[in-house]
């Protein structure tokens, strides 16, 4: 499988995997924007070839500058590999106490990741009037709905709820909902319902338990998955996976590059580690994932050797070393 852009959170993943004897070889590739004369942005050929060949990837965080004039790197990657469904589970972590630990959170957001409000199509109509285009297509909506239900079945989940604002955006969100309904019919054993996005915001902060798998267009998914990450303790703990065409799957942490962290060793690599575990399970190497997850959760729960963002004083390498130690002792 491929590893891309070996930034600070990736090192722990590789170290831990090697201690756990995970049967994976890493092929490392760098990803950076290549700006073409026609204005298009692409990523290096060798990175594309590597992923096309291996299908599975683990990616470090990348930054998007505001107002720099080029298309976001993350968007470019998504388009290059046809990454159409972004999967963000949010599960309460034992040992990380939030106001929502009592109820426990265990939901999954499946976010359409190719279109919607992120079409990048904006123009100034007249000075002082700007239009931004949100694009919803039947095809993309069907694809993400299919994945959501498939995910529910593969992972033993009960319900899928579609979040929308079809009262306001009747045609676009309306079509999204139609596609969800069509797909739902093919999965009679999975419960399906629809909820206004604002109602969902209101309800999830009161009773997160009522939410299982959720499917929604791009922007809502982006916002809502940050919300759910907050419920379990923040982006430092949130994993994600991106499903693409031809069986491509790229896993990454939700968080950004954390440029504000002056000390690189202070960063919490857990989110990327969790993403790596998602990857292992996707590759049906679940037993390795369980072993690593157990060591990680125990370390967090003990609370003695954890990073600053979850209340500890350990550095990234110290935290990683402790997880490795537990794995060695456990096996």
């Amino acid at each position: 499988s491929s590893g891309i852009n070996a930034e600070w959170p990736l090192r722990p993943g590789k170290d831990i995997f090697s201690v756990a004897n995970v049967p994976i070889d890493w092929e490392e590739r760098d990803i950076y924007p290549i700006l073409h004369p026609d204005g298009k942005t692409t990523i290096p050929e060798d990175a594309v070839a590597s992923i096309d060949k291996n299908k599975i990837g683990l990616k470090g965080p990348m930054r998007t500058a505001i107002g720099k004039g080029h298309v976001s790197m993350n968007l470019t990657i998504r388009r290059t590999f046809g990454l159409y469904a972004n999967v963000r589970p949010a599960k309460s972590v034992p040992g990380v106490t939030t106001p929502y630990s009592d109820s426990g959170v265990n939901c999954v957001i499946v976010r359409e990741n190719t279109e919607g409000e992120y079409s990048g199509i904006e123009h100034t109509v007249v000075p002082g009037v700007v239009q931004s285009v949100k694009l919803i297509t039947r095809e993309a909506s069907q694809n993400v709905a299919e994945y959501a239900f498939k995910y529910a079945v593969d992972n033993g989940r009960q319900n899928v709820v579609a979040l929308h604002k079809a009262n306001v955006m009747k045609m676009s969100d309306g079509m999204f909902l139609e596609c969800c309904r069509e797909v739902a019919k093919k999965y009679p054993n999975i419960g399906y319902r629809e909820m206004y996005l604002d109602s969902a915001c209101l309800k999830i902060v009161n009773d997160p338990n009522q939410f299982d798998v959720m499917v929604m267009p791009n922007l809502y998914g982006d916002i809502f998955s940050d919300l759910t990450a907050g419920l379990i303790g923040g982006l430092g703990l949130a994993p994600s996976g991106n499903m693409g065409k031809d069986g491509i799957a790229i896993f990454e942490a939700v968080h950004g590059t954390a440029d504000d962290l002056t000390d690189r060793n202070a960063g919490n690599p857990t989110a990327l580690l969790m993403s790596a575990l998602m990857m292992l399970r996707h590759m049906e190497l679940g037993s390795y994932a369980d072993k690593i997850e157990k060591a990680t959760l125990e370390t967090i729960q003990e609370g003695k050797i954890v990073t600053g963002d979850i209340g500890g004083t350990a550095t990234n390498p110290e935290y990683t070393a402790e997880i490795c130690r537990k794995i060695r002792e456990g096996s």
Binding site: T64, I66, G67, S72, T98, P99, Y100, E117, Y118, E122, H123, T124, P127, G128, V129, V130, Q131, S132, V133, K134, L135, I136, T137, R138, E139, K165, N167, V168, M169, K170, M171, S172, M175, Y196, L197, D198, S199, C201, L202, K203, I204, V205, N206, L219, D222, I223, F224, S225, D226, L227, A229, G230, L231, G234, L235
Partner: protein, 359 residues
């Protein structure tokens, strides 16, 4: 002149910078438009009329019905618009959101140019929630943005939906937010946006807020990306003061924040146009399945009516209602379903009246 009365939990209720029209007055009573709406709307509106009658509040309601049965009736809708334009003040329950036509909510706002929606979410004594010490004000541009209603299917299976941001309306809502902050002694205004992705539209909104902020040096200004805001709201909501944002983000943030302080049953809101003010529950949900059962919490609606009274300079009546509600919540004996009890709408109304009587 700035009207200045303190009233416990909520402080001053009137917005001095919105010109208060003399309003329609007959025989000493001010006429106000009342639109109970759909679902539980009529039930919570009944709480208001009951309380007003009991207190002999000098308000005459002009009641207009807007619900899913007369969605297509232009006459009913025009009557609502005319009434609101004439009276300049309205009290609204909850209007139905589904159906084929552009919803009543959107049409009303558009027609009357009700551009500013203000939802104050404050932790309430007596209502246990996961977070304490919240006191934020969500100010939402309510006429453009994602709610333009401009959609078309360019080819079969491909829909384009337009989000419109204008400099004029962005400057207007920014100015409103800073004026509001000044008026209510708030320290900080945060612009919520997604300009990293929507560079032109949200970029324009953010720039307008920045421009306006320079006119108010005594107020701190910063900005935050909407996804981070939602996360911050569930981790550390106490950091927020006044927030100003375009339509959709305002919708999400005000619902989220309302949920944090106790839910749709408790949070009132105020909506302003150039010379019109409408008061209604902050999170607009009809709760259709409970219609007719009288289980809804009337507090959001009754508080909205109290703020309406203060807007009309009827401070004594307004303050007494607010104070009574605070006492009911602190006592905790009467609680509707949404806040953990099983009292009915009418029992809650009775409890509020009892507190008014003994005060």
């Amino acid at each position: 002149a700035v009207v200045s009365t303190q009233s416990g939990h909520y402080g001053r209720g009137s917005m001095a910078n919105v010109p208060i029209k003399p309003g329609t007055k007959y025989g000493g009573k001010t006429t106000v438009t009342l639109i109970p709406g759909d679902g539980v709307g009529p039930e919570i509106a009944e709480s208001v009329t009951t309380i007003f009658r009991h207190m002999s509040v000098p308000i005459q309601f002009e009641t207009i019905s807007l619900n899913k049965d007369n969605l297509k009736d232009e006459g009913a809708f025009d009557a609502a618009i005319t009434s609101l334009q004439r009276n300049g003040v309205g009290l609204k329950g909850v209007l139905n959101r589904s159906g084929d036509f552009r919803t009543h909510n959107l049409e009303l706002r558009g027609n009357l140019d009700m551009y500013a929606n203000v939802v104050r979410c404050k932790s309430i004594q007596g209502v246990g929630t996961r977070h304490e010490g919240i006191d934020l004000i969500a100010i939402r541009e309510n006429t453009e943005g994602e709610y333009s209603g401009l959609e078309h299917e360019s080819v079969s299976g491909v829909v384009e939906s337009l989000k419109v941001i204008t400099e004029e309306k962005s400057l207007r809502i920014a100015k409103f937010a800073f004026d509001y902050a000044l008026e209510h002694n708030r320290n900080k205004v945060t612009c919520i946006h997604k300009a990293n992705i929507m560079k032109l539209s949200d970029g324009l909104f953010k720039r307008c807020c920045e421009e306006v902020s320079k006119l108010y040096p005594s107020i701190t200004f910063d900005s935050q990306i909407i996804d981070n805001t939602c996360q911050q709201l569930v981790i550390n909501p106490q950091q927020f003061d006044v927030m100003v944002m375009p339509n959709l983000y305002g919708n999400l943030v005000s619902n989220l924040a309302a949920g944090l302080v106790g839910g749709a049953g408790l949070v009132p809101s105020k909506s302003y146009g150039e010379d019109i003010a409408v008061f209604e529950p902050g999170a607009r949900h009809t709760w259709m399945e409970m219609k007719g059962m009288y289980v809804a919490n009337p507090i959001a609606m009754v508080l909205s009516s109290a703020f309406m009274l203060k807007h009309l300079a009827l401070h004594d009546y307004g303050d007494r209602i607010i104070s009574a509600i605070e006492k009911v919540l602190v006592k905790g004996e009467c609680r509707t379903r949404d806040i953990g009890g099983n009292s009915t709408t009418r029992e809650m109304t009775r409890a509020i009246l009892d507190e008014i009587d003994v005060a």
